[in-house]
Amino acid sequence: MATGQAQKLAKWALMPSVAALSAWAFIPLALTFYFAFLRYNLQDPDNTGWAGFSNFYYFFKDPFFIKDLINTVLLVAGVIMATVVGGVLLALLLDQRFWGRGIVRLLVISPFFIMPTVSSLVWKNLILHPVFGLTAEIQRWFGFAQPFDWFGKLPLFSVGLIVAWQWLPYAALILLTALQSLDEEQKDAAAMDGANRFNYFRYIVLPHLSRPITVVILIETIFILNTFAEIKVTSVGGFAGNLTYLVFSQLNDANDVGMAAAGGLIAVVLANMVSALLVRLVGKNLET
């Protein structure tokens, strides 16, 4: 509520941001859409024209497509499972009182601030390396002559481990914030009602966390769908590539703009399904 003059000013104050974001959201999308139906390879610049759905057809027929799609789903599902379960446990732990809790909290959230290229290379080399890595050393100490080759044998799991390490602090921090907003009186009331620790967690804490857990799942889905640096930098794209990586390699290695655009559109559709849920959830919160 304000005067018409203020409303008018407000409208124009909003314009630069809306125009910029609108250009950012719609121009690439429109061009991706356009390219996806085009014969367009950078190595063969004169051969252009309408391609119909053939880009999509070849994309779906690409042996990497199904594998990478499955990888994408496995990566997202696995990391989310790990971070939500781990996040709840971590949040419960950090909600307790103990000596040095503030410092432990800082230690726990630190991985979130590490740039993806750093964490990828550190994990691949210093931690998981099959000969010189820390885990190899530990295995030898336990008597295994031939330490496990994480990135060789389980590339997707290894990438998942790195991504989970980065996102676990995020889940823990948000769930901890939610936990701390739980009314202290509810705890007292539950104690008066004779609830033991387990019942208190089951009937009070978990329902209270259901909403933040949903938020964590949705936001992590959107970010982890786009996992890229961890795959590229650890050079496992051929085995553990996801959809984002496939689009990149279509552009970068095959130079096929049409195909890459078709893949990009598929990624957009996938992400939109999740983001529609998230936007609805946030929107509900906005009304109240």
Partner: protein
């Protein structure tokens, strides 16, 4: 000069009409109080005068000049908000000086005027504090200081005392009244509290559902309410209303009797009833009486310390010369006397 005229002003918010059609003249130097129940549109009306909202129809004249399309800054009015709306990051000095800074006065001039305002309001010792370090009453004074410092055409007060405790409220009520007598500037004051309206106003405007029900001096409204709404709103405790046979007797659809115009007696009178609650205030007693025969409930105010309590039987007699008569639509009929 500071006269304000509302000429058929209306205000609609997204299809919902808050003020259907209000016309009103506020003369220079008057202390006018807008009073009414919450949601009656009194604050909206004040914000329309301030220029914080646009009118949907009609005109607003300041000193006869059409100010309908002017922004709040151009109108030359000052406002004191319910929440004080002090700038928390500025000291008291900077808060009071802000309007002068915006008017691009030079530093020495600002300092002089701030000192003047601080003297009038007894804020001299607090000039370097931030609002967060002040009590409610002091914040209220700073808000007033910020308003008076640039000598506005009129002051607009939006329920300025509702955040203060009871004792402080009475104090500030006196201070604002004194300030008005000192400055002789037009003041428009919005409140839901009819006691504030009665004690402070030169002229009261009673509002209900966006309509101006009656305009007049406090005693006018008390003595000659134009309708049932005004009659019930002005006066404390509230006026009693009776209808049916008792009202027929006065050739009216309903009648109103103020609690202070009923005499209670032990042995005989017009109506017989039983006391529900007796509120002893020391100087007065308020009796809540259920009349026999389902005639209704009456509140009676009687001076002194009449020794009555719950369950006592009592006779009540109204002062016939002070009975208010209303027709079916609630409008006042001619006084019986």
């Amino acid at each position: 000069m500071g006269s304000i005229t509302l000429d058929h002003v209306s205000k609609t918010f997204g299809g919902h009409t808050v003020v259907p059609d209000a016309s009103l003249t506020i003369n220079d130097g008057e202390f006018v109080v807008f009073v009414g129940p919450s949601g009656c549109g009194k604050s909206t009306l004040l914000r329309l005068i301030a220029g914080l909202e646009d009118v949907s129809g009609g005109r607003i004249l300041l000193d006869g000049r059409d100010a309908t399309t002017e922004g709040p800054a151009q109108r030359g009015l000052a406002m004191v908000f319910q929440s004080y709306a002090l700038y928390p990051h500025m000291t008291v000095r900077q808060n009071i000086g802000f309007p002068l800074l915006m008017a691009k006065l030079d530093k020495a001039e600002i300092e002089r005027k701030v000192q003047d305002a601080a003297r009038i309001l007894n804020l001299g010792d607090y000039l370097d504090r931030k609002p967060g370090q002040l009590s409610g009453g002091q914040r209220q004074r700073v808000a007033i200081g910020r308003a008076i410092v640039r000598a506005p055409k009129a002051f607009l007060f939006d329920e300025p005392l509702s955040n203060l405790d009871a004792a402080l409220r009475i104090n500030m009520r006196l201070e604002i009244t004194e300030l008005h007598q000192q400055l002789k500037t037009t003041m428009v004051y919005v409140t839901h509290d009819q006691v504030e309206a009665m004690t402070m106003a030169d002229k009261i405007v009673v509002l209900n559902a966006g309509r101006v029900e009656q305009v007049g001096s406090p005693l006018d409204l008390y003595r000659k309410p134009a309708n049932r709404f005004v009659a019930g709103f002005i006066g404390s405790p509230k006026m009693n209303f009776l209808d049916g046979a008792e009202a027929e007797r006065y050739r009216a659809h309903s009648i109103g009797i103020r609690p202070e115009h009923i005499t209670p007696t032990r042995d005989k009178g017009r109506w017989h009833g039983r006391i529900g609650v007796a509120e002893h205030l020391g100087s007065d007693v308020f009796l809540h009486v259920a009349l026999d025969g389902g005639l209704g409930h009456l509140t009676v105010r009687t001076p002194g310390d009449m020794a009555v309590s719950h369950g006592d039987e009592i006779w009540l007699t109204p002062d016939d010369s002070r009975i208010y008569r209303f027709d079916k639509a609630g409008l006042a009929l001619d006084h019986t006397s």
